[in-house]
Symmetry: C2
Subunit: 358 residues, 2 copies
């Protein structure tokens, strides 16, 4: 048997599926998972799809102590014609390997990983919900499993994929959120791990998020870690501003995550011939545009929400209401088009979707 043949052990005790209106995000998991092991001798080996089950790890496993781990997030969508499709999984696997490089984790075979994901989703296809806005969230991740307390890359790893049916992000249609600019905490800095999708970036963000939630804000807007001047991300999304008819997003600088939705937004805007530019942008500049009435829209982009309009931005005691707190025209058009492509109701000029079930 080839090292590449996926062993399949069927779950003989499938769980009851939650109803669409119970789903929310990341709380339910399907009947199966994908696992593959790594060691220096065999490389990535023993790929298998098995019943969803606990991981059994030595308490000294490196992941618990030194956080050598990376992950990805993408979704499978059920179309109106009952097909199931993924959105740009190649971009996620490319990024997973970039994250692997930064974290000293051995690279995976990207095409093989996409096949494994398709295989797994196909097996658990009944878990892909069909209510509007719902989807199956796919979480590939790699953990370091060697039991060793020295600070060094692990000798062994597991690549795992789990699936979680998730509810509509917006229950009553796309809706703007209130955001606070974070002045105390920093998510990432150039030379750190900000452009990798790794655990530590998210651990670092919890405290900031907790503080602003107490003040009624949904997320924080992260500034750069060096000067605390330039805008980087919003919550765990990339961020865009429409200023005087031009869409501006922070240029990738080593501490900003290269979002798949970010990339898709830029491509769509170019396709529509709407001016879009990647550059440094400071809060001072943004505020000046706001005062001059030139800040027309602000929105985040990410896999979970797709597009998340910002209705209010709080910064150093000032409150900036954007587009009267309403969803802007560009944000709406991007949201409708992206979700339309994802759910197969709009044509897909870039061939972004990948069929799992025909």
């Amino acid at each position: 048997m080839s090292e590449y043949t996926i062993t399949y052990i069927k779950n003989e005790k499938p769980k009851e599926k939650p109803k669409s209106d119970q789903l929310s995000f990341g709380k339910y998991f399907t009947d199966h998972m994908f696992i593959q092991d790594y060691n220096a001798d065999k490389g990535w080996h023993n790929p298998r799809i098995v019943p969803y089950q606990p991981l059994v790890l030595d308490p000294a496993a490196i992941v618990f102590h030194y956080g050598q781990t990376v992950f990805e997030g993408l979704k499978a969508y059920r179309t109106k014609r009952d097909k199931i499709q993924l959105f740009r999984p190649d971009k996620n696997m490319e990024r997973l390997n970039r994250s692997n490089d930064r974290l000293c984790i051995p690279r995976i075979d990207e095409e093989y990983a996409i096949d494994a994901i398709k295989h797994l989703v196909h097996i658990d296809q009944d878990w892909v919900p069909d209510a509007p806005g719902t989807s199956l969230y796919i979480r590939p991740f790699i953990i370091s499993t060697e039991p060793y307390l020295g600070v060094a890359p692990s000798a062994t790893y597991q690549f795992i994929v789990i699936l979680s049916p998730v509810g509509a992000y917006y229950e009553e249609g796309i809706n703007p959120v209130k955001i606070a600019v974070e002045n105390q905490f920093v998510r990432a800095v150039k030379g750190g791990t900000g452009e990798a999708k790794t655990a530590g970036n998210y651990a670092s963000s919890l405290k900031a998020q907790e503080q602003v939630a107490d003040e009624g804000y949904a997320q924080v807007l992260w500034l750069d870690g060096v000067e605390k001047k330039y805008i980087e991300e919003v919550g765990s999304m990339n961020v865009f501003f429409k200023i005087n008819g031009e869409v501006v997003t922070p240029a990738l600088n080593g501490s900003i995550l290269e979002g798949v939705t970010r990339n898709s937004v830029i491509q769509l805007l170019e396709y529509w011939e709407i001016p879009v530019v990647e550059r440094k942008i400071s809060m001072e500049e943004l505020y000046e545009h706001y005062q001059n009435g030139e800040l027309e829209e602000a929105f985040g982009s990410g896999t979970a929400a797709v597009i998340s309009p910002v209705g209010e931005l709080a910064w150093e005691g000032k409150k900036m209401e954007i587009n009267n707190g309403k969803t802007g025209e560009i944000a709406k058009r991007l949201y409708d088009t992206l979700t339309g492509i994802q759910y197969g109701s709009e044509k897909d000029p870039f061939n972004w979707t990948v069929k799992v079930k025909y």
Copy 2:
């Protein structure tokens, strides 16, 4: 039974203990471990000492994805009179709680945790090695266990303590190492998690360490993440320089870990009436002192090595040989005194040691 009574399940199949010369660091683990659970209803509860065993965790547990975890490191030493003692465990538990605050993890009861550690070490006392320079490394850590893919603090945790007999750090006596100043990667930045003992800081350091190891250096010297000018730490140790008779160490600034050994070094120097100052110090300044013949010693401080002299520092193509590549007088005196106190051969004027076995 009180929530505070530790349940004890004896390991009926004890392992064979490794020989002193096989030990190295963090590769062997003892027969028992301590575990305690947390949830919102019960707080920290169900403390137990059980046979060393794998952790069984849902693959969606937050620790695997968002790195919400903290840890500590301290040691138990066997004295010549066959007593067993800890070194300043109160400082470690204080820091664990500071790390908990930063990572949104519920605080532990510090005194209770010290008692639990003493209890565990007492049970596994035969694992405390007696060869010169050997000790029992103690690794308390907390992991987030809730199966949830939203980026939010976990609802459940486990506080775990494992023990690992470790060899002498210096097989042939204290010995200087070669260090490279890191110009590309950053360990931590103000507003990040640098002053917390949490996984992400260590994950971030692996790549830099891997690169310099290829060039024959033992560790990197970390500069600040903002200006990449000021000295922060060396490897996973704090750092000290003797300049013109005065000992200088970088002042705590939010991105430097507050080391227990660092604190002990400062107290000892003050006790000896050797000038010691905590302040910002740049590589430019250090290099100027080096050129003027004023840089007399450099050394790291940490639990693993206690004191680690720096014999050579490579910075922007320049190689600075310090004290002719030999261990300096202050480094030697600190090493001898600290290890003397730890192993009970020197008197302990600060009451730093805590007896486990009388």
